[in-house]
Symmetry: C2
Amino acid sequence: MPTTTALTRAACEKLDAGDPLRHARERFRIADGTVYLDGNSLGAMPASTPAAVAQTIARDWGTDLIRSWNTAGWANLPQVVGDRLAPLIGALPGEVVIADSTSINIFKLLAGILSRPALLAEPSRRFILTERGNFPTDIYIAEGISAMLAGRYQLKVVEGGALVDSLDETVAAALITHVDYRSGFMHSMSALNLAATRAGTSIVWDLSHSAGAVPLQLSENGTDFAVGCGYKYLNGGPGAPGFVYVRQSHQATLQTPLSGWFGHTDPFAFALHYAPAPDIRRFLCGTPPVLGVVALNAGIATFDGIDLASLRAKSLALSELFWQLMDDRCADLGFACVSPRDKTSRASHLSFAHMHAYPIMQAIIGRGVIGDFRQPNLMRFGFTPLYTRFVDCWDAVATIREVVVSGAWRDAKFQARNQVS
Amino acid sequence: MPTTTALTRAACEKLDAGDPLRHARERFRIADGTVYLDGNSLGAMPASTPAAVAQTIARDWGTDLIRSWNTAGWANLPQVVGDRLAPLIGALPGEVVIADSTSINIFKLLAGILSRPALLAEPSRRFILTERGNFPTDIYIAEGISAMLAGRYQLKVVEGGALVDSLDETVAAALITHVDYRSGFMHSMSALNLAATRAGTSIVWDLSHSAGAVPLQLSENGTDFAVGCGYKYLNGGPGAPGFVYVRQSHQATLQTPLSGWFGHTDPFAFALHYAPAPDIRRFLCGTPPVLGVVALNAGIATFDGIDLASLRAKSLALSELFWQLMDDRCADLGFACVSPRDKTSRASHLSFAHMHAYPIMQAIIGRGVIGDFRQPNLMRFGFTPLYTRFVDCWDAVATIREVVVSGAWRDAKFQARNQVS
């Protein structure tokens, strides 16, 4: 029950009216009656995506056919869209390329680093460092690499808070996700990059839950290698390709075992032996997934002209409001926020533990308030400042309160719990 | 000049009128005035694709959002579409899955085989066998695996005719492309599978230039492992995902180092350690590229109700006609066919060497006859029986003759030669 604040739905509407980013919502199509707080899992559909993909299919493929590899620029699309993404993550032109999935891209970089002869010759560097709370696919890929390299490296899985101290001379490489997919906790990239440099090792960063959500400065903060997801905050659509970032100075020396023909310096020479491109193209592998890259391009275009500082400010204002509303209106209902209280340590989603998290989430989804459930007992809500409104926070919390107080959650038809992070 | 035959354009029209597959062309949209003989590189656009993809974008993503992983069946799409493809390649349900690119899929299978402890413990098996004429990305990926496995295996690259005799007890695994991307030469899968079995080794087959072009019987012909391309004869669109086939009996024992979360036995349990699915799903890696899989599904649907024997019969009739027309009408112009004369040894494309192959190809493309150029001196023409007509062969050869005899090829604006195989 509101006691210490005077928050009302009208007050939230006022916040929306004064929001400098309020017009960005027009760049998306979101159904009336839907409160979408899951853009951290699958970004909403940009208004421009249907036409962009339709044109690629009907005109470029349908009419120009194979010629479109040249005339429509398909062959260079991974670099062109990578360059468009670069400013969102503080990278330079030529440092980002769109390719494959996040899992595959982790393999490219981590296996490339761990296969370096100089590193193999240093047996004391035997650990692949990561954290227990990392997104599972990151750890799974690291396990696959470790197995393929015949146990030369072992996984060292520590608690997140122990990462800095664990970056020592026994570490061959670290695989760190910037933002925890459950709690929203955000590491300091600068601090960890510095610790890695001091320890003479490298970090492969997974930016899946931060790219497009918080301003990133990969060039300035000393990041050497990173990957990220195209279908979350970047709005690229279901299963959109991911991205690879490699600092310019490392591009000529890091070679990935995923040495497909699009990473060749001259793919159409059809040479007998692999010779990697001298630049970011070497982190391509097979033929680029054109439809996916086109859709991702439309997703990234939703950030055109958006000031990232304003984006971050609104993201934090939204999550602060949501948290305050939960405190005010649902304090008696058994929820406990597991996200960092300190704003500088969290990204753009909040998670609340509840013993009935799963059926409550199903019940509110049934009422058009879409967050997601994460094992074992978390309700997760993502705030995507380009299209999330302050009234959305009000309506979501009101719906949560209603389904819990009324007991409606007990009747919720439990849907399959398979949702894609 | 026609001497021994009475072939005319009218005779070709008559062949089209009597073609039992003539109505299949209505399943595609091909611009008037285009003679498309490059479906072996990028299949033409199915008429149903724009609506299928538009629905996935606007309805499933745009309206149902994250819920579509369940409600629209996105989560199972790679298996569902794999099962739809299975009969085209003579595989059983549950033996095929749609995923990633051909290059990535080769890595999954070949690296999985070569990482098996039992094989690693047999140092006399030291070769990855392949042929010199293999498509480059196949060899490049094998090189990447060999390097990552620290030289435990070396590539052995032989001429195609030497593959059978080279399958001996020194071979750890073979990587063989069924159909040569230049000549169209087609290996006998049965004969090579038998030789591999006798030698106690495995073949990973690349079916990129045969799936959808010739009837395949993977179950019957003893194939254990295969990959293939979605954007050629399967009409999946530019950069469509590829497919993975693993014989049922091998699925539980082959583990790929590309161990992403969608290959986990229970991805949404978010378990700390990787445990591969017991079935074909273990050959998935990251989140499936939904738009690409949906488009590929529409491409595979163009084969619905088509008898593969009729498809093969028409394919051979088209290539025989084309070759005969080239012999009849262009014999004096310096072309030499490099494809096998024996019909049982070739798939569904023909290649002709010519000292001016590149500008001639550009000139005929400028006149709407689309084949492609392949290094060093080849003009390649693919015959896709679902939509190629007999008059297309006539018109193509007439155009070739015209640009050569008139000298128009000298004036052809040379476009960039980068085309995607």
